[in-house]
């Protein structure tokens, strides 16, 4: 080996190569979705058209679309610039938990402080934690999120079902409303439901909360 070749080998040891991200969760989630989507192909085409219609109706969707993540009932579009976001959105009057049309799933089985019926599902408020649950099977796209390029967005799995983790500030779109500013969020499928939790926690903590619902 010549000196130049030896110098190249030495250079390799000093290159700034970031640590390898965990890829298996995201890859398997995508493969699971592909298998399911093949089974529901004819239906998915119809829903796909509806989803596109929703996407084009979203303000700010003219910004460059960089990446796209999708779950049943939820999608995340990563764009280059976030549109203006509303900081706060009142949830209205709370309801009694047993008024919900399906059995609500509770993190660690704990009772929420309040439950609100809104946006086609139920919002559960806990100290420092907000959970949203809706029946998404087969379900249209009722959640829409947009995040900037720097946002940490990845596919994850919760008890073998696909989910998406968004580790930064982003916009939450709900039917008929202005985009709302949202923080760290995990969205995942759970049987016939799609759940969303938002809390100022990291990915692993959010996954632990998601796994604890019952």
């Amino acid at each position: 080996m010549t000196d130049l070749e030896l110098e190249l080998r030495d250079l390799a040891a000093h290159l700034d190569v970031p640590p390898t991200p965990a890829l298996s969760g995201a890859v398997l989630a995508r493969l699971t979705r592909r298998r399911r989507s093949r089974r529901r192909l004819s239906f998915a085409v119809a829903i796909g058209i509806a989803a596109l219609a929703v996407a084009f109706a979203v303000p700010g969707s003219r910004a460059a679309l960089l990446r796209f993540f999708h779950l049943r009932g939820a999608s995340v579009s990563v764009i280059d610039t976030l549109p203006p976001l509303t900081a706060h959105r009142p949830l209205g009057q709370p309801i009694a938990r047993d008024q919900a049309s399906f059995r609500l799933l509770l993190p660690s089985g704990r009772r929420p402080e309040q439950v609100y019926a809104r946006d086609g599902g139920y919002w559960l408020r806990y100290p420092g934690l907000l959970v949203f649950e809706f029946e998404s099977s087969p379900g249209p796209q009722i959640l829409k999120k947009v995040a900037s390029t720097t946002t940490d967005v990845e596919y994850v799995q919760v008890h073998g079902e696909p989910g998406i983790w968004i580790g930064a500030r982003h916009g939450l779109y709900l039917p008929g409303g202005a985009p709302v500013a949202a923080g760290h969020t995990l969205i995942w499928q759970h049987g016939p439901l799609t759940l969303r939790l938002e809390a100022a926690v990291g990915r692993d903590r959010a996954l632990a909360i998601a796994r604890s619902v019952r």
């Binding site: 130049l4 700034d16 190569v17």
Partner: protein, 177 residues
């Protein structure tokens, strides 16, 4: 990974065993990501390329010839994904040297500074090469791939790896003056 164990995993994955495919992803994710990063030069592009490559590899498992090594076959898909992403960028993202670790000391700070300067000069020269010259050097010396694996990753003949490496080293020497 042992070749025989790998053959069994590939066969199981081909039959739809997702746990077997997960084992393959875990075994090769580091190589796939590093390969994509060295070619694309960008973390997000590399992650996306590696992820897409595994999904495409899974889809193409039916065409994988039993008994063939999995590693070069996967490398070809990864490198192709990374090059596609690089092509869509107006300007190629350049590799950089790692910053000195905090607290790292050297017996001879002057010598250490000179070594860093030499490495920076060399890396700048590598980044000035044409894509095909740069890629063959990156595969051979940065990723330490064999000639056969480099040929698979870059989709070129084994003999071309030899001649292109020779040419790239000569051009690199010219760049360095």
């Amino acid at each position: 990974m042992q070749a025989s164990g790998e053959d069994i995993l590939v066969e199981r994955a081909r039959r739809g065993d997702s746990a077997a495919f997960e084992e393959l992803v875990l075994a090769y994710q580091s190589l796939a990501f590093r390969t994509a990063f060295v070619i694309a030069g960008d973390t997000a592009d590399a992650e996306e390329a590696a992820q897409d490559a595994f999904v495409k590899a899974h889809r193409a498992l039916g065409r994988f010839r039993t008994g063939e090594p999995f590693r070069p076959w996967l490398l070809a898909i990864v490198a192709n994904e990374a090059r596609n992403r690089r092509r869509t960028r107006a300007r190629r993202a350049a590799l950089a040297l790692r910053a000195a670790e905090p607290g790292a000391t050297s017996d001879d700070p002057e010598e250490a500074a000179l070594a860093t300067e030499r490495r920076e000069r060399l890396l700048t020269a590598v980044e000035r090469l044409r894509d095909d010259d740069r890629d063959v050097l990156a595969c051979r010396y940065f990723l330490e791939l064999s000639e056969a694996e480099t040929a698979a990753a870059l989709g070129i003949a084994h003999g071309t790896v030899k001649s292109r490496t020779h040419r790239a080293l000569a051009r690199l020497q010219e760049e360095l003056g």
